[in-house]
């Protein structure tokens, strides 16, 4: 059998070291994010939706056989008659959600980010977005949050969703924001794609007194040498990197931009234009078409000429393995960020 040039297979005649000898790690497929030393909140999306549904009879939940893995099972248990199991059928999930929205409901449709963005794209475009229907597409396993390999790693979902007219695209950071964003999108009259952190989700932004606003980027901490512009759990990583860099005398601001589209260009350009800071975007997404390129485009269009660097996943199909190892390998871990930022400052 011929092995293709992209093969990761080790030929059989080469002995592989045993996992323990390599210091290999493992992690569950749907591992909750590394939450060492942080409080966590369980299933913030599911609980927020249940709370909302008490007063919002228009809210219904649909899933394509991933209720348990998108925290929608909490809603299903609380409101069994408002929960629609559509089976492993993402085209039906999205078109049926569109149909329910046409009948006046506010459907929350959940699946994995890979399946919504890749498999169901045409249905989201034509049945939902073109009609500007208030369907909320909430998707687990965004970017690199599983070690299962490319079948489950939605490394290009933001790029795909950004390309769609009418679609609002969100990448929340933590449990606090997931709760707030769920409530905000329920009130928003159009279609939304929201990346989901599920299970035990770290509580990070609570201590900063953060309040989510749709379409707004917010400064989480000030700093004079580096301006991180980040979304999703990378804001968490940037805050940790900022703390680490502070010990080395590097002062880092963190501007959190959970709304990828429409991007808060005014705030981002105003912050970058203050000058004297290296702008570093940080995202749990491919370098192509996500937050980094959205920010770069905004800066270029607005004639904001500043040093610019991007922390993002490479434009590659990523390896399988344990999530912490993969975050190190692909540059999303805190040490990887701090090392590169120091290097860039010395360039």
């Amino acid at each position: 059998m011929t092995i293709g040039p992209n093969s990761r297979r080790t030929p059989a005649h080469i002995a592989r070291p045993k996992p323990a000898e390599r210091g290999a790690r493992t992690s569950a497929m749907i591992a909750s994010l590394d939450a060492e030393g942080r409080d966590t909140i369980s299933a913030p999306f599911g609980h927020a939706l249940v709370d909302l549904a008490k007063t919002r009879e228009d809210i219904v939940g649909l899933t394509a056989d991933l209720g348990k893995y998108t925290d929608l099972h909490i809603f299903a248990e609380a409101y069994p008659d408002r929960f629609y199991q559509m089976g492993m059928a993402e085209a039906l999930l999205m078109s049926a959600a569109a149909g329910m929205a046409r009948e006046g409901f506010t459907p929350f449709a959940t699946t994995y980010a890979v399946f919504a963005s890749r498999r169901a794209y045409d249905f989201i475009v034509m049945a939902i977005a073109e009609e500007n229907l208030p369907v909320k597409i909430v998707c687990a396993l965004p970017g690199l949050t599983t070690g299962y390999g490319p079948s489950h790693q939605a490394t290009e979902d933001l790029a795909i969703m950004r390309g769609m007219p009418n679609m609002t695209v969100l990448d929340p950071c933590d449990a606090v924001e997931t709760d707030q964003a769920t409530r905000a999108i329920a009130d928003y009259p159009g279609p939304v794609y929201m990346r989901l952190l599920r299970g035990k989700v770290p509580n990070v932004l609570g201590e900063y007194g953060y309040k989510f606003e749709l379409g707004k980027a917010k400064e989480i901490r000030p700093g004079s040498d580096v301006l991180f512009i980040s979304s999703g759990f990378m804001t968490m990583r940037c805050l940790d990197a900022a703390t680490a860099l502070e010990k080395d005398g590097v002062s880092c601001a963190v501007l959190h931009s959970p709304t990828i589209k429409p991007l808060d260009e005014a705030t981002i350009c105003a912050e970058a234009a203050k000058g004297g800071r290296l702008v570093v975007t940080a995202e749990n997404h491919s370098v192509t078409g996500g937050l980094g390129e959205a920010v770069a485009g905004a800066l270029a269009r607005n004639q904001v000429h500043v040093p610019f660097r991007q922390v993002a996943l490479p434009d590659e199909f990523l390896d399988a393995g344990a999530l912490p190892s993969l975050h190190d390998q692909y540059g999303l871990s805190v040490p990887s960020i701090t090392t590169r930022v120091k290097g860039w400052l010395n360039d």
């Binding site: 219904v60 408002r82 629609y84 039906l92 078109s95 049926a96 149909g99 329910m100 249905f123 034509m126």
Partner: protein, 282 residues
């Protein structure tokens, strides 16, 4: 019943008028999916003048039966039916397919009163119909959702996702109408798909639907099939496979080599209309 039925106009005459409106739209543009419009006119006449409940002056009326056209290119046929039904004014025929018209070549919800969904990306309609049928049940609204789809659309996997979903949810308020003219863009549907007369209904039945096959150009047969679908007590979705003849009603077009996009020469529109006028039903 809230529609223009009850008048003394026969369904045959309604179908004739739908054909006539469609030919006039084709004449305006010098083109159009006239083969499909002529072929489906009888089914549309039965839908709009026998089966469906609606208020012509209030196309968003909550109590209306919903008619979802998956096949966007059949818009010329649906506009013709809605003009005949009084939902759209007849004088808009002359705007068909033009800039700023409410009657674009491919049907879209945002453009046209009475157009429930944006069709054109085939394989979407039945899934949306499932969602609307679920929504109507939640609201305890007893309206039906009709979805007209084409035989070619049976090749889309999403159609079968919706077929299975509708059966699982026992959507007895959903009626699928398959316009089976055995013609998709590149040639006969039966050359590309495992389908055909005598086999398609059994497939839907195997998926848990009430399904039957009729001659879609035999108005009495279509009426009977619609009546059985509407009055069935079993908690299942319903499908009517309508075998139709492209270009039906205009013999010189019927005899032409049939393709997805039937070519009509500029002078032939008037000829087709003139032929139709010699055969006006009672």
């Amino acid at each position: 019943m809230e529609h223009p039925a009850g008048s003394n106009v026969s369904l045959a005459r309604r179908a004739w008028s739908i054909r006539r409106h469609a030919l006039r739209m084709g004449e305006v543009q010098g083109q159009g999916y006239i083969g499909q419009a002529l072929g489906s006119a009888d089914v549309l006449a039965v839908s709009y003048f026998h089966a469906m409940r609606y208020r012509p002056g209030d196309p968003d009326w909550e109590g209306r039966d919903r008619f979802l056209l998956s096949i966007g290119h059949y818009a010329i046929a649906l506009y013709a039916a809605m003009i005949e039904a009084g939902i759209l004014p007849e004088d808009e025929i002359e705007t068909y397919g033009m800039d700023d018209s409410r009657l674009p070549m491919s049907g879209m919800a945002a453009y046209t009163p009475g157009m429930e969904i944006t069709g054109g990306s085939l394989g979407h309609g039945l899934g949306i119909a499932v969602g609307m049928a679920l929504g109507l049940k939640r609201k305890k609204n007893d309206a039906f959702v009709y979805n007209m789809l084409s035989d070619g659309e049976l090749g889309e996997g999403s159609t079968w996702e919706a077929v299975m979903g509708a059966a699982a949810w026992k959507l007895d308020n959903l009626i699928a109408i398959v316009d089976f003219n055995n013609q998709q863009a590149d040639g006969p549907t039966m050359d590309a798909l495992a389908t055909g007369p005598g086999t398609e209904a059994a497939k839907w039945q195997a998926f848990g639907w009430h399904a039957e096959e009729v001659d879609g150009n035999d108005i009495d047969a279509v009426v009977a099939a619609f009546d059985r679908a509407r009055h069935l007590k079993e908690p299942k979705p319903r499908a009517i496979i309508c075998n139709t003849k492209m270009c039906k009603g205009v013999p010189f077009l019927e005899e032409r080599e049939i393709t997805h996009f039937v070519r009509v020469e500029p002078e032939e529109w008037a000829k087709a209309l003139a032929h139709l006028d010699t055969e006006m039903p009672e």
